[in-house]
Point group: C2
Chain length 222, copies 2
């Protein structure tokens, strides 16, 4: 019996070892599959015309969500809707670093986030922020912090970072002309290896453009 | 002896099983580590001034490589040098889709690649290609294929694809003003998930801007 117990115990050990290894492999595979895949998208413009009212109404509050789209344009399924949707997903912070910002839908989305308590910061270009149709004045009026350069060079970035996690960057200025008429691209990336350098660049510029560093000339004009 | 051989054989089997599993794990890990990591970089501008002559001379041919940098500026280690270096690494193809292209160093690099037998194709914006300092005329003169839009909207992309493998895209137009004075970004990515949509966009635009589709008006002007 003792001698027969030998191979039995060894077989049990072998079985247990292989079984455990299999179980671990299955658990690791399941965890790997369950892990949400980080967002990696490329949006191209010009964007199809579409109704963005539903997205903005939903974001404004539950009572407004039932309001049907007021125009016959299709909803969603276009690059502008996707950008708007990603933007409105912000819960804690929105950092915008935009050469030119004049699209009214995107302006409304940013104001809405600010009202919802999301910390919004905007960096923009001095030469372009005063142009007709610019949203920068409205954003400032709504109490959103805006900083700008004082250089002869342009602050030419066009990126947004949602909740310090989702980066949207590309050739697209946030203007209706660019969205509706230009060939443009916008990358959506949730990958820290790309997001981190842009977060650092934002903080670097934000500090550099601190109003305490602005220079004013003796005649009162800048 | 026979009974004692039972546990011995089972032990041997167990040992072999665990040993093989360990060996496989080590080999897989080694292969995974050996695999070259795909490029993932972010370049920011303005770029430090630097001498790009050495890079261009090296690319021109081995006899020119020994020529020392003709100016006291530091070499490499700046965003422009890195962009130039990546560009000059092209062996088979270079696809450029650029709103504005006037930087002479980058223009020389593209001509050099063309002379080296790399298939260069350029898509650009009609309204900007004729501006003073534009490299587009030089590229056409050198025999490089260039196609452009005929729209009122801008062909506003700013991307390059090297050997259908490395994508460089961002806010940066290929102008000396942008490189030396603006706040700009350029992503370098070797990831097919991002490269493929840009390759498709390039082919789509390349076909759409085929000169056989150009429209000419009756008075002879476009």
């Amino acid at each position: 019996m003792g001698a027969a117990g030998g191979p039995g115990r060894a077989g049990l050990v072998l079985g247990l070892a292989l079984g455990s290894a299999g179980l671990v492999a299955v658990l690791v595979l399941a965890a790997w599959r369950r892990r949400r895949r980080p967002m990696r998208e490329v949006l191209f413009f010009p964007s199809l015309p579409s109704c963005t009212e539903e997205l903005l109404a939903q974001a404004a509050g539950p009572e407004a969500a039932a309001r049907p789209c007021p125009c016959p344009l299709p909803q969603r399924d276009c690059s502008l809707s996707r950008l708007l949707q990603l933007l409105l997903s912000a819960r804690r912070s929105l950092d915008l670093c935009l050469f030119s910002f004049s699209n009214p839908q995107l302006g409304r989305a940013v104001q809405l986030l600010h009202r919802r308590g999301v910390r919004v910061r905007v960096i923009t270009d001095e030469q372009y922020m005063g142009l007709r149709g610019s949203q920068i004045g409205f954003l400032r009026h709504a109490g959103i912090q805006v900083r700008h350069d004082q250089d002869t060079g342009y602050m030419h970035h066009k990126f947004a970072i949602v909740d310090q996690r989702i980066l949207m960057t590309g050739s697209l200025n946030w203007t209706t002309q660019a969205i509706q008429n230009n060939r443009e691209n916008l990358l959506v990336m949730e990958d820290a290896e790309y997001v981190k350098p842009f977060l650092d660049e934002f903080e670097r510029i934000w500090e550099e453009y601190n109003p305490i560093n602005y220079k004013f000339f003796s005649n009162g004009s800048k």
